[in-house]
């Protein structure tokens, strides 16, 4: 039965997932076990996205199904789920830019790959990035941006991290529609990822995870 939930979620069978979760809750199954299966299912979704079997609509839909699972399970939870994370990452779309689709995909992929991601949202000022790095002690920072104006915001953010004395404590990656190696150099970031999969690979490399 446990396997069924993993598979149903990985295969994006929304109604099946709901039914299994409801049945397991009725049978007084441990809600944490249900969430752990859901996490495994999402991990498979992430792998399928990485291997180009799944695309953005599939990610969006899986996220939606997961939301309904957590909504069903939450009332039965007595203690919070704990899982070991690979590392902490601060992520956001830089100041002046409100695009979120690309950022959300990378955050999703980092999350299902076991990172603790602090998503600051869009139009995030350099100061908010700095504050969040200090607060969380994150070792990786992801800057997203779609517009050409984002190049300057990224550069300013990298400089703000430097002025705060944090530059040697974090690795910074950038990404977005018009980002190239030239932009990476311009901004002073450590690397750029051409897509979400590349972003995950960078984060894993920096966290010292064997791939």
């Amino acid at each position: 039965m446990a396997k069924d939930l993993v598979k149903a979620l990985a295969d994006l069978k929304e109604q099946e997932v709901t039914k299994i979760v409801e049945d397991r809750l009725k049978a007084n199954d441990d809600p944490l076990k249900i969430l752990e299966d859901a996490r495994k299912g999402m991990e498979i979704v992430g792998n399928r996205f990485a291997s180009s079997e799944y695309f953005i609509p599939d990610l969006v839909y899986s996220g939606e199904i997961l939301k309904s699972v957590t909504n069903l399970v939450r009332p039965k939870l007595t203690k919070a789920a704990e899982s070991k994370k690979l590392g902490k990452i601060v992520f956001g779309t830089v100041a002046g830019d409100i695009h979120d689709i690309g950022k959300d995909i990378v955050v999703f992929m980092l999350d299902v790959n076991g990172f603790e991601v602090h998503d600051l949202g869009v139009d995030v000022s350099a100061q908010r990035f700095v504050d969040k790095i200090k607060e969380t002690g994150a070792s990786v920072v992801g800057l997203s941006g779609f517009l050409t104006l984002a190049f300057d915001s990224m550069k300013q953010t990298v400089e703000a991290v430097k002025s705060a004395g944090l530059r040697d404590k974090v690795k910074i990656m950038i990404g977005g529609g018009q980002i190239t190696e030239e932009v990476r150099k311009y901004t002073g970031a450590d690397a750029y990822g051409k897509d979400a999969v590349a972003g995950v690979a960078l984060a894993k490399k920096w966290a010292g995870v064997k791939q």
Binding site: L12, E14, Y54, F55, I56, P57, D58, V60, Y61, E64, G96, D97, I98, H99, I101, L147, T148, L149, F151, D152, G177, Q178, I179, T180, E182, V183, Y186, D195
Partner: protein
């Protein structure tokens, strides 16, 4: 008596090109060019572009199209806010663009748009300079579910009524009163007439109409200044490329009605409704594009493509959801002589094979980051392409980098005609010397011998 023969689509296309070649001024009379040289240059530029599009004979050289968004505004030392609120300044910036860079074709002074009109209508779909984004930045879209998941039937049943009574009041705060309007098709005979007019007496509806009058007057003022500006740019010898725009039905729903997340969930939860709604919108999108071409008297109709890009869906989903109605819209435009200009923003390399299924010499593609060599072997065999010079290169590279890149594009895509040098995506920030290098490199390397 012999019935008058209807023109073929080829003849209709020729007629639109001929009208483009003989532009009108704002009064509808033949445009007076600045000089005989300007008139000659205008016609040469169109001929060059037409030859590239039709792919029947080689142009004298590869044309160059400059496709900025707010770049002309920055180039003139203005902020986007100034360009959106002072129409004369906006006009000055776009006139400066053609005198500074002399491209073969350009889009005219249309990108900034009238900020006051959006203020009056309380437009929520966008944030614009001074209204949600800083004065020195470009506008950005606020994507939301402006149409909810359960409203497909209402859209399919009567798209126009759905827009006026439901969608428009959600995206324009000032059009709140439209929610109270009756369906006008209920006004049929003397019995009941008065009841149908009751809503027009209600204060919220009257407030909405007052806002409309004000917005209309402002839009007219804007159109007068920008129309005269574009006519002046034409009179100096520089044709504008676009008659107007239309959209792929999937993007109509995915961009501004349901939003990206919404439309993606609909692909799973209610695919039949989504498909039906797109079919319903198809003739409407055809009429929109054809209407623009006929009114403006020029063939090229812009179609910005968004949510069919690589990664945004699988090829199977693309074949099912995105391509069929987009192709129908393009075929509908072609039948009426218009030249659809689908703009493949971002990367569309995996879609190229599917998208080559179109008649030859009828379509103008914009390429952003798709593989240009593959594009030349697929969509480029039947259709003209422009673009591929990256925004990042124009913003951060050197003039020599730009020239090298343009030369590479010409070598790959220019062979045998059917290519126009251009940047790949609308750009705001760029170095002027890089933009100049793009134009100069085309004139230098792009001559067909």
């Amino acid at each position: 008596m012999e019935k008058q023969r209807e023109m073929s689509s080829d003849e209709k296309q020729e007629e639109l090109f001929a009208r483009w070649m003989s532009p009108k001024d704002t009064q509808g009379n033949g445009l007076k060019f600045q000089s005989p040289q300007a008139e000659k240059a205008y016609k040469e530029r169109i001929t060059r572009t037409k030859d590239a599009i039709q792919m029947e004979k080689l142009p004298d050289r590869i044309p160059v199209f400059l496709m900025p968004s707010f770049f002309p505004v920055y180039n003139a030392g203005l902020t986007p806010h100034e360009a959106m609120y002072d129409y004369d300044k906006c006009c000055m910036a776009f006139k400066k663009l053609v005198t500074d860079f002399a491209p073969d074709v350009q889009p005219g002074a249309v990108a900034p748009g009238p900020g006051r009109v959006y203020d009056i209508l309380d437009y929520k779909l966008y944030s614009w300079p001074g209204h949600g984004v800083p004065p020195e930045q470009s506008y950005q879209a606020n994507e939301r579910e402006y149409m909810t998941a359960d409203e497909y039937d209402a859209l399919i049943d009567d798209p126009s009524n759905f827009f006026s009574s439901t969608y428009l009041p959600r995206v324009f705060g000032a059009l709140e009163g439209f929610r109270m309007l009756p369906t006008l098709t209920g006004i049929l005979e003397i019995y009941g007439v008065a009841f149908n007019f009751i809503p027009f007496g209600l204060p919220p509806v009257q407030a909405t109409y007052r806002a409309l009058f004000e917005a209309g007057a402002e839009a007219l003022k804007y159109a007068g200044i920008i129309g005269a500006c574009n006519a002046e740019i034409n009179a100096a010898g520089f044709p504008g490329l676009w008659a107007g725009f239309t959209k792929a039905p999937f993007d109509v729903i995915g961009d501004t009605l349901r939003g990206t997340r919404g439309v993606m969930l609909d692909m799973y939860r209610q695919p039949e409704k989504l498909l039906e709604a797109m079919e319903r919108l198809t003739p409407i999108m055809i009429k929109m594009g054809v209407g623009a071409a006929k009114t403006m008297g020029q063939p090229v109709v812009f179609i910005p493509l968004h949510k069919g890009a690589d990664g945004f869906m699988s090829d199977a989903q693309f074949r099912k959801f995105y391509w069929p109605t987009l192709r129908k819209v393009m075929m509908g435009l072609i039948a009426e002589g218009a030249v659809p200009n689908p703009a493949a923003e971002g990367k569309w390399t995996t879609r190229l094979e599917i998208m080559q299924d179109l008649p030859k010499g009828k379509v103008l593609w914009m390429l952003d980051q798709s593989d240009i060599a593959k594009a030349k072997q697929t969509i480029g065999k039947v259709g003209c392409m422009y673009g591929n010079v990256p925004s990042a290169l124009l913003a951060l590279g050197t003039p020599q980098d730009v020239k090298d890149y343009v030369k590479k594009c010409i070598d790959i895509a220019g062979k045998g005609g059917g290519y126009i040098v251009s940047n790949g995506a609308f750009f705001d920030q760029a170095k002027a010397e890089n933009v100049r290098a793009m134009v100069e490199a085309t004139k230098e390397y792009g001559v067909y011998k």
